[in-house]
Amino acid sequence: MNTESRPGSVVIFGQVVLVSIYLLIVGLWLLIAGRIKAEGIGKIIRRPFRPTYAGELRDIRHDDGNCWIATLPCELLSDKDGASRLVVCEDDRLLGPAHCGHEDIREGGGGRFSHWGAQVYFSTRDNSDPRTNGRRYHVRELT
């Protein structure tokens, strides 16, 4: 096997473009034919045409351990759809890290959160009860 001779950058660029076009066509066909499911695709297409969401977390309920759950509008892109752009704030301070596993939130708390489907799984910074600690919990979508 000779792996010493490398094609030039123009050739590589051409190969990358060709393969990208081919894979795009195949991918679209697989989606249209229903061979691959991508439930979030409609949300991603609609995202640039709707206002950025911001709102209070209401009807908070306890999940388990340090984890609390609140319901969000279902049209928001969540980690279930690929990548949530949501930030959660405790008063004026950002909570985090985001995109955490739910078990990690339940055990670790400390502000970890996850936006999954139409719900946000979150913990407070000091693992207190967000319904009684007197702080305000709100979310906003990053553009």
């Binding site: 096997m1 792996t3 094609p7 590589i12 190969q15 990358v16 060709l18 393969v19 990208s20 081919y22 894979l23 195949v26 991918g27 697989l30 989606l31 061979r35 691959i36 991508a38 979030g40 695709i41 991603i44 995202r47 892109l77 980690d79 759809d81 690929g82 990548a83 752009r85």
Partner: protein, 308 residues
């Protein structure tokens, strides 16, 4: 100069078609029925790399990427223990077959544990493996087909085949070719792709992607994987990842380029349920069948000591 392991290899070598014993003579292995050349120090029991040319390409390009001895970590060792349940004490001094050696990531582990390891591969990955183990006296590499291996029955104390058999034309049939090579009481451990998650999605893609020439798809992976990994928080990349799962194993971008190429380029891509795999072990009369970890399609079994 021959390696010491050859003393253990010669008695078990045979013509893969007729089963006749082989002798080494003038740069080749000879039986009454055939001749098998040694080319660039590697014995060849096949004429070419048949349906696995993508593996010839990837392992000669990434011949060091996944080997612990070059990475200076234990990522492959940890994965080997998880996927096989074998530990260092289980294989020390044993004669072990690595069926589908690739560049030798697991042969590296097992030979450092003190086993004598024979690594076979249908692809020209054997060139990479030979280069990686040229100084290791307890490793012997050969180019051969798992469907027609040049070894006599009941030759090995242990056999493992991790992430290989699903790339053959018939996963079950090729697994069943390995079992007779075990000594009574010997262990076999395999991992094949599960019929779930990203493997199901890749199964839809593969017949289209494996038509792309290896060097072109590889060039694309070299561009795409780092590009996408730098944008994992973007919704569009998140969607792409669900439609076209690419590797983010946390073992470095070179590993992820290799793994993405590896996942989409082979000709054959079998996917199997754990029950199906365990059924093959039962069919072959193996005993103490178990799954060594939460990798559901990792299965291990022992050949009965009274097996004939």
């Amino acid at each position: 100069m021959d390696k010491p392991i050859l003393d253990r290899v010669m008695p078990i070598l045979c013509d893969p078609i007729t089963g006749a014993s082989l002798r080494k003579e003038e740069g080749q292995f000879i039986s009454e029925s055939g001749r098998f050349p040694i080319i660039r120090a590697v014995p060849r029991f096949v004429a070419g790399d048949d349906y696995v040319s993508s593996f010839s390409f990837e392992w000669n390009t990434h011949y060091r990427t996944q080997l612990d001895c070059f990475r200076s970590d234990r990522s492959s060792e940890e994965q080997f223990i998880k996927k096989t349940g074998f530990g260092p004490g289980d294989l020390r001094g044993k004669l072990v077959l690595d069926a589908g050696v690739g560049a030798g990531r697991y042969t590296d582990v097992v030979s450092r544990w003190g086993a004598d390891v024979i690594g076979v591969d249908l692809s020209y990955a054997v060139e990479a493996a030979y280069k990686n183990f040229v100084d290791r006296p307890n490793v012997w590499i050969a180019q051969a087909d798992i469907g027609a291996l040049p070894f006599k029955p009941q030759s090995f104390d242990a056999i493992f085949s991790i992430g290989v058999l699903h790339h053959t034309p018939d996963t079950e049939a090729y697994f069943k070719k390995l079992v007779p090579l075990l000594k009574p009481g010997g262990s076999i451990a395999i991992w094949v792709y599960p019929k779930e998650g990203d493997y199901l999605i890749r199964n839809e893609w593969i017949r289209f992607v494996n038509k792309i020439p290896s060097h072109m798809f590889y060039a694309w992976c070299r561009w795409f994987v780092p590009w996408a990994q730098a944008r994992l928080d973007r919704p569009l990349v998140g969607l792409v990842r669900r439609v076209f799962p690419f590797s983010t194993q946390g073992l470095g971008v070179e590993n992820d380029i290799l793994d993405t190429f590896d996942g989409y380029s082979p000709k054959y891509h079998g996917i199997h349920s754990p029950e199906e795999v365990e059924g093959w072990f039962h069919d072959m009369g193996l005993q103490q069948i178990r799954r060594p970890s939460d990798w559901k399609t990792c299965v291990r079994g022992i050949r009965s000591a009274s097996h004939h």
